[in-house]
């Protein structure tokens, strides 16, 4: 007669963890618990994702919804019919195409200037020795602590009284200076202190033997910088480019202060045009917001590691 235990445990010996032994049961229970915990994590993650992405989804759907569904009660969650009228209206009745051009010109120019001047200074701080180097470095870094509101007013005056620009005479009177010009818009973005810091940090990680070898071969410092360091630094330059472009594209305060002509607005200012005191044109506003946000969102989604690198470098090693 076979043991009952053996019946339960099959033909295996007692104590060996068979499919029904106590040890295996415990293991299965643990596995089940882990699976449940994993599923719970996904449920929580999904719930948070809805809160974080929900507003974007609502913007997206609102910009494709016909007006009667936009304000319908009970609400229409997903548009039954996709319409492009809001996009058409946003571009037809406002100067949005022009704002887009302005923002593109300012952001791209500022990014290119940043890449050059920041990396040049970063190379000097990382690889060249000169008296007063650390003093200059920390003085420059310290400006990151200064609120923009402290320098805003003098910068506005500087732009307005810029000598020999916009009808100004040599002492900066009689005209409007660089107000309502691209150079006026670009001025505060030309060199970012963050970029100097970022490139300098990266350059110090490149072995100095490269410099010695290149110097023996008779390469000038500028050649070493431009032909060796810049190509080696593509990832960090990409990070800097992304940060400069998005920073300038997204900025609002400076263009608000420095432009008053309708033609010189940037996209962020342009969004204000769909609102008057009492009336908001929600459809075109959401469509325009989508268009304004899209370049930065796409850059972010395709370059995430650069974003994270920038945050972490300046965030923790600073």
């Amino acid at each position: 007669m076979r043991d009952v235990r053996q019946e339960i445990c099959g033909s295996r010996r007692w104590n060996t963890p068979g499919p029904h032994s106590r040890a295996s049961l415990e293991r299965r229970r643990a596995r089940l618990r882990r699976a449940l915990a994993g599923a719970a994590v996904y449920v929580v993650l999904a719930a948070i994702a809805i809160v974080m992405a929900g507003p974007f989804a609502w913007m997206l759907m609102s910009s494709f919804k016909p007006n009667q569904e936009l304000f319908a009660y009970p609400p229409v969650w997903i548009p039954t019919k996709i319409t492009f009228e809001h996009f058409v209206n946003a571009f037809r009745y406002t100067n949005f195409a022009r704002y887009f051009l302005n923002s593109a010109v300012v952001s791209v120019t500022a990014t290119l200037l940043n890449l050059f001047f920041c990396s040049l200074a970063g190379y000097s701080f990382a690889r060249l020795d000169f008296p007063g180097k650390s003093l200059i470095f920390f003085a420059v870094l310290a400006t990151m602590m200064i609120p923009v509101y402290v320098t805003l007013i003098p910068l506005f005056i500087l732009v307005r009284r810029f000598p020999l620009a916009g009808g100004n005479n040599l002492s900066g009177q009689n005209g409007t200076g660089l107000i309502n010009t691209y150079w006026g818009l670009i001025l505060p973005y030309i060199v970012s202190v963050f970029g100097v810091f970022l490139t300098r940090q990266f350059f110090t990680s490149i072995p100095t033997e490269i410099n010695d070898a290149a110097r023996v071969d008779g390469a000038s410092e500028f050649t070493i910088y431009s032909k060796i360091y810049l190509p080696l630094s593509r990832p960090v330059l990409a990070t800097l480019a992304i940060f400069s472009f998005t920073g300038v594209w997204d900025d609002f305060l400076w263009p608000l202060v420095i432009t008053n002509s309708e033609h010189m607005r940037t996209v962020q200012l342009g969004l204000q045009i769909f609102r008057s005191q009492f009336l908001v044109d929600w459809g075109p506003l959401m469509a325009a917001t989508l268009v304004v946000t899209l370049p930065v969102l796409l850059i972010f989604i395709f370059n995430q590691r650069h974003f994270v690198k920038g945050v972490v470098t300046t965030g923790l090693k600073g």
Partner: protein, 302 residues
Amino acid sequence: MSASHSVSSYWKNRARRHTMLMGYLFVAPMALYVLIVHFIPIASSLYLSFTDYNILTAPKWVGVANYVKLLFRDDLFRRAMRNTAQYALEVLPLNIAISLALALLVNRATRGIVIFRTLFYLPVVTSIIAVSMIWLWLYEPRSGLINLILGKLGVGPVNWLGSPALALHSLVLMRVWRGVGWNMVIYLAGLQGIPQYLYEAAEIDGASGLGKFRYITWPMLKPVTYYIIVMGLISTFQTFGEVYAMTGGGPLDSTTTVAFLVYQRAFQYFEMGEASAVAFLLFGVILVLSLVNIRYFQTRLD
């Protein structure tokens, strides 16, 4: 021997001088720019804060009159300071608690975790004006998404931005939504820097999950938290975009922040001297709070 030595030291000196020259040359454009766009404006702003200046006529020296007026006779300035402090005090703890929870949640190698990290970070890369426009629509009293959902639950309608008692809190809610992704990434980097053996040792000692958090994770993240608080103070005290775009400082000055006051005084009323004084007081507050924080955390860390 000695001749060749002096020749080589001559060349070495020449090379060193050359590096020095190049060093200055490479730094010069940036240094000049920082001088013109940061240092001189800071100095002239300080000067302007002691003057009466409306751009059209020359600045008139008034001594500390602007500061005295702001600190003792200006109700709106005091209101703006109070609003800004309250805003920061509400945003920072919420932001830290939620972003740390998010970081702990996404600090695992589960399938698809990168997608969640990306989603949580999306609001950070969206411009403050775009975010304001989206939330203006979400907060819309009749057709806004939030009131529609609340309506389904039998609550509301809530006048999010139109009520003086609520408007500032509505801005806080939006700011927390926008800011947690940024701090999540910083906390995530901090978490990944905590050595794994600490947890293993604690497990051998039979520590619970909560115990590990309390005695390992939280203390090890102290420097990160301190960084987040200082950066949070600097950024919340300069809140402007959403106020300008969503409430215009109202209703009844309930959302007027100090930064908004600087803008208003300088570019709507053209009181540049007084606006500069407001800016410097703002700077002073930020500086003091940051230093207090650094001191506090340094004593706690040692």
